[in-house]
């Protein structure tokens, strides 16, 4: 066989290959290839090309395609070639199409017919070529077209054909299990094929079948074991030997299958012990392939029901791997160690040195593998060192893909095993600082929650200390340039909540820093939003503490900028801030209670506190509320609605002319209001929930202010999105502000939107009540005691949420109900981030209704001709009343919750929580014994040479 050039390659082709081989640069190569493509395009479509020439063209196309250029113009010619009678040409055609076409290519349909014909051919080589193409090209739709022929070929006299037929059937199974599910018994039959090649090929599909459904193949354990035994005893023909190993690839496949079958099945595993032990002994560990088989044995041993003797052999092999000079073997050793420590953690101990060596190795792959191992063996005793190492490594690499992975691992370990909160926060700070944009936003929320809720101990002092240390560290970190956005959000939030809490830093310090942040990261709206809200909180706390508030000049300029911001969210926050500053201490304390971020907020959905007021209004002759469904039949309103809906639904251009404004028929609306209704497009579509419409009838009567307000709304509707986001309420509140000028009305309306950020938790609380019920009914009372974690951190282990203790009963129930109904997302209690995302779900807050109420009172007073001055105290009183009402409601709920055993939100109330605590918490002799044992297992014994180095890492 000529090694250079072929029999049938022209000089042209050789020249092409040569010139590409000599090309100095990629550009030169590209130029040559493009030239070639031009030539081929021209030549290939010439008529009457001799077959041999055509074949060469196709091979040249394959070459071009291989180099990464597009040769699609020639695909059709390759397809044509498969139709040829001569095997010589046909084979090239098949080769080309398998390389060119994906299984979903349009041209496949043109080949199916040929394949069908070829599968029936007398010449087995033709059949083989066709089967090769079948494996690559047949897709789900075309399986039925060739399936019967392939089935027939399973009994073909030639083993090469049977083998390929098996592989084709396997491919069908991968593509569409249902289409061949009735045929899987054929795989079992072929397992007994006389030819070892066919048997070996059959192991591939069987492996996959068993991986999907172990139980229906348990009966094959004996057969597999006996095959493996025969293979290991060299009963197969010499042709299958590979480097003096008897059929190692078949052995490996069999061991993989046995590992699946024996996993967690003592009886099946017992059948395997002898043969696996034999292989351990017989394997030649000097050759690569021998080691491959040994490695597979370890995998098998660590997967099946453990056997001490086999584990011992496995440990021996591992130590041989780790001591080897070959990096490959070290790598395999680390990997195998990771598998084995799940069963016998103590073996890690003997290999500490080797593991440390691998960690320091210049080889990146090996290092990563070692980190994977460390990740698996992390305990609360060694978490600090391991995570420290991981972060150091994370900082040193550039590969974002891996950085993300290792960052999330650090976070996971830190959440699970953190020895102290201080450490946890410091660790998270480092992770955020260096990979902040790569970690999940949830992690940031967890961190905020942890800081807010503290360690879960009843020790308030510790929590305060924690917070002030967090504040301190954040103030320091803010000095560094270029922090990731997520991290800044956390910082802003914490500074806002706790910046001034311990009195160490003055409000002007903190606000100054926050302004700096907003200025330095002016492109990041989320950060700016967080900073603004933080500023608001600081000022609110100052006001509530009855200190004098001086706004820094830079803060003032920031606010001015934000008030004119393009982002409605930022604008709203700025207005809220402005409004809050104008309020008195009492009101502010109610709106922004200090350190209350973890309190649940109750919302009275039925607005029952308004009942009296409504009653009164009705008695005075107001129209009762009519539900939307009943109203929609009415001509005039539906008219309006249609118009509104039209505008709302079509964001694109409107091509038909706008209707002339129709005079509204005033049947539905009180006489006094006609004037305004004509201009006011009934504002009701702005507020989607019915409950708001309780106050509906009185709103349009806001005649004085309506006109101006209306115009703003109109603008909003035309250009803004007509979804019901807080943006609408912003425009609403701002418009009111300009119109009313009364700070009270203003305050209340801003309160409403500001409150929204807090309220986002509310519906989830209700959901969790539902869940509690479900969980209680599913698991009974006992689930609670079992699931009750000892501390917040241990709770995180279960749900990966860090949960404060006062929430623990609930959260543990949440965990339970999560299991019961996995579709339901665990409520992220602290997710108070983007109000746009969250508050769309809840337009129901009492303050919004209050806003309507205020309007109503105003109007009422205006109608009554009462002096405007008398209004404000009324409103305030009303506001206070409702606020108090809410609080009362809250308390009442809590109290009623007490009678319900699943809710124990009140600290230290009944005996039950304490009982459950003592059963699972901390200084429990059994726990500590277990822990101690674990530590010993992992830990350093004096036997090791350099105990100091590893004490922290392994012990």
């Amino acid at each position: 066989m000529g090694s250079q050039g072929g029999f049938y390659q022209s000089k042209e082709f050789l020249d092409l290959v040569k010139s590409i081989g000599e090309a100095r640069s990629k550009a030169e190569e590209d130029r040559i290839v493009l030239n070639e493509i031009e030539t081929l395009k021209r030549r290939i479509s010439e008529p009457d090309i001799p077959k041999r020439k055509m074949k060469e063209y196709i091979i040249r196309l394959v070459y071009i395609e291989m180099l990464g250029h597009d040769a699609s113009f020639g695909y059709i010619h390759a397809v044509k070639m498969t139709h040829d009678d001569s095997l010589l040409v046909k084979r090239t055609g098949y080769l080309a199409v398998t390389l060119f076409l994906n299984e979903d290519h349009d041209l496949i349909i043109l080949i199916v017919n040929t394949i069908q014909k070829d599968l029936k051919s007398d010449n087995y080589l033709v059949v083989c070529a066709a089967l090769n193409a079948v494996c690559k090209l047949i897709n789900e739709e075309t399986i039925p077209a060739v399936l019967p022929q392939v089935m027939e070929l399973l009994a073909h006299p030639k083993e090469a054909v049977r083998k390929k037929a098996i592989m084709a059937l396997h491919r069908f199974y991968q593509k569409s299990p249902s289409s061949v599910s009735h045929l899987v018994s054929n795989f079992r039959k072929r397992l007994c094929d006389n030819d070892p090649g066919v048997m070996g090929a059959t192991l591939c599909p069987l492996f996959e079948l068993i991986a999907r459904d172990v139980n229906s193949y348990k009966d094959l354990v004996i057969s597999f074991v006996s095959i493996l035994k025969q293979v290991a005893e060299r009963r197969l023909s010499k042709a299958y030997d590979y480097h003096q190993m008897p059929a190692p690839f078949i052995q490996i496949k069999l061991l993989k299958i046995l590992a699946l079958l024996g996993s967690g099945d003592k009886q099946a595993s017992e059948n395997m012990y002898t043969v696996v032990g034999d292989i351990f002994r017989k394997c030649d560990s000097s050759s690569n392939i021998g080691n491959a088989v040994l490695y597979e044995c370890i995998c098998c041993v660590s997967s099946i029901y453990p056997n001490p003797k086999l584990l011992e052999s496995a440990a021996d092999v591992i130590s041989r791997f780790l001591k080897s000079d070959s990096h490959n073997l070290k790598y395999m050793g680390i990997d195998a160690l990771g598998r084995l420590i799940k069963i016998s953690p103590e073996i890690a101990e003997q290999h500490q040195l080797a593991v440390i060596d691998c960690l320091e190795d210049p080889d990146d792959t090996l290092k990563r593998k070692t980190f994977e191992l460390l990740y698996k063996m992390t305990k609360s005793t060694n978490v600090e060192v391991i995570v420290d190492r991981m972060i150091d490594y994370m900082i040193s690499i550039n590969d974002n893909h891996y950085k993300t992975e290792i960052a999330s691992r650090c976070v996971e370990l830190a959440e699970q095993f953190a020895p102290s909160n201080q450490w946890f926060i410091q660790t998270m700070n480092r992770v955020f600082e260096h990979a902040g944009d790569l970690v999940n936003i949830k992690v940031a929320h967890n961190l905020m929650r942890l800081i807010a809720e503290g360690f879960g101990e009843d020790d308030d002092n510790a929590d305060t200390k924690l917070r002030s240390s967090a504040v301190e560290s954040y103030l320091r970190i803010l000095g560094e340039p270029k922090l990731p956005s997520v991290f800044l959000q956390v910082i802003c939030w914490v500074l806002g909540e706790y910046g001034t809490a311990d009195g160490m830093f003055s409000a002007s310090d903190i606000t100054g820093k926050l302004c700096d942040v907003a200025e330095a990261y002016s492109n990041d709206e989320t950060v700016k939003a967080y900073a603004t809200t933080a500023l608001m909180k600081i000022y609110a706390f100052e006001i509530a503490a009855r200190r004098k508030v001086d706004m820094l000049p830079e803060c003032q300029s920031l606010m001015e900028e934000l008030l004119a911001s393009h982002s409605t969210d930022l604008q709203q926050r700025a207005y809220e801030l402005q409004a809050v500053i104008g309020l008195d201490a009492h009101a502010v304390a109610c709106i922004m209670p200090s350190d209350a971020s973890c309190e649940d907020i109750e919302v009275d959905r039925d607005l029952s506190f308004l009942n009296d007021y409504i009653q009164e209004a009705i008695e005075k002759g107001a129209q009762p509320y009519i539900p939307e469904s009943e109203r929609s039949g009415m001509l005039n309103i539906s008219n309006f609605r249609n118009q509104d809906h039209h505008e709302a639904s079509s964001h694109g251009l409107r091509f038909e002319a706008y209707e002339l404004p129709k005079p509204a028929v005033q049947s539905r609306i009180p006489q006094t209001l006609i004037a305004s209704t004509e201009i006011v497009p009934v504002p009701e579509p702005m507020y989607p929930r019915e409950s708001y419409q309780t106050t509906m009838p009185s709103i349009p009567s806001d005649a004085g202010s309506a006109e101006l307000k209306l115009r703003l709304e109109g603008v909003q509707k035309k250009w803004g999105r007509s979804t019901y986001t807080p943006a609408t309420s912003t425009s609403n509140s701002t418009s009111q502000k300009t119109v009313n000028g009364t700070s009270q009305g203003d305050g209340a309306s801003t309160v409403s939107s500001m409150r929204e950020t807090y309220d986002s938790r509310k519906p989830q609380v209700e959901v969790s009540h539902e869940k509690q019920k479900l969980a209680a009914s599913l698991f009974g009372g006992s689930s609670k005691t079992e699931k009750r974690p000892a501390t917040g951190h241990k709770a995180a282990k279960a749900s990966s949420h860090v949960v404060e203790k006062s929430h623990v009963p609930k959260s543990s129930l949440e965990v339970a109900s999560e299991k019961a109904a996995p579709a339901q997302q665990p409520p992220d209690l602290l997710d108070l981030g983007e109000p746009t995302a969250t508050s769309t779900a809840l337009q129901l807050d009492p303050f919004k209704q209050l806003e309507g109420l205020l309007d109503a009172t105003e109007v009422a007073s205006a109608v009554n001709g009462a002096p405007a001055a008398s209004r404000s105290p009324d409103i305030m009183a009303l506001y206070a009343d409702t606020a108090a009402g809410i609080h009362n409601k809250n308390d009442a709920d809590l109290l009623s919750g007490l009678s319900n055993p699943s809710v124990t939100n009140m600290p230290g109330t009944t005996a039950m929580p304490q009982v459950t605590q003592s059963s699972s918490k901390g200084p429990n002799p059994k726990d500590s014994l277990e822990k101690d044992a674990l530590v010993r297992q992992m830990g350093v014994n004096p036997s090791s040479q350099n105990p100091n180095l590893f004490k922290d890492l392994l012990g």
Binding site: N102, Y242, I289, R368
Partner: protein, 161 residues
Amino acid sequence: IHFVLLISRQGKVRLTKWYSTYSKKERSKVLRELSGVILTRGPRLCNFVEWRGLKVVYKRYASLYFCMCMDPDGNELEILEIIHHYVEVLDRYFGSVCELDLIYNFHKAYYILDEILISGELQESSKRTVVRSVAAQDSLVEAAKEETGSTISNIIALAAK
């Protein structure tokens, strides 16, 4: 196995075979990234690279890198030996194979690969069987050629009569 690549030390592609579906863009990206990673790795490091959640096993023969990409839970040494198996078969077929053989007869390298791996699974682990079946195809091809040659000469002979 997701794909098989042969890359020369200069980063030139010698053979590509894709068992999983990759678009043209992805393919060239894979090639670019992997040749960047693999060619820069020093000697005496291990032959495995973790890459996008998959593992790439590579082995260098003279100036040619053979790479196979596999699932993360596979047996790396086994893949390494499959590479070696392939190389041995190539060697047996070409008779002390060198890079030039593969450059000029890459289609034959494809045929041989097709006999060893089908849709990413090892189908035949006996070298002899592989070589025999490839040889059978070749001989048939030769026979067919001779046949056509002789019929043509027959026709010529007939025409000459």
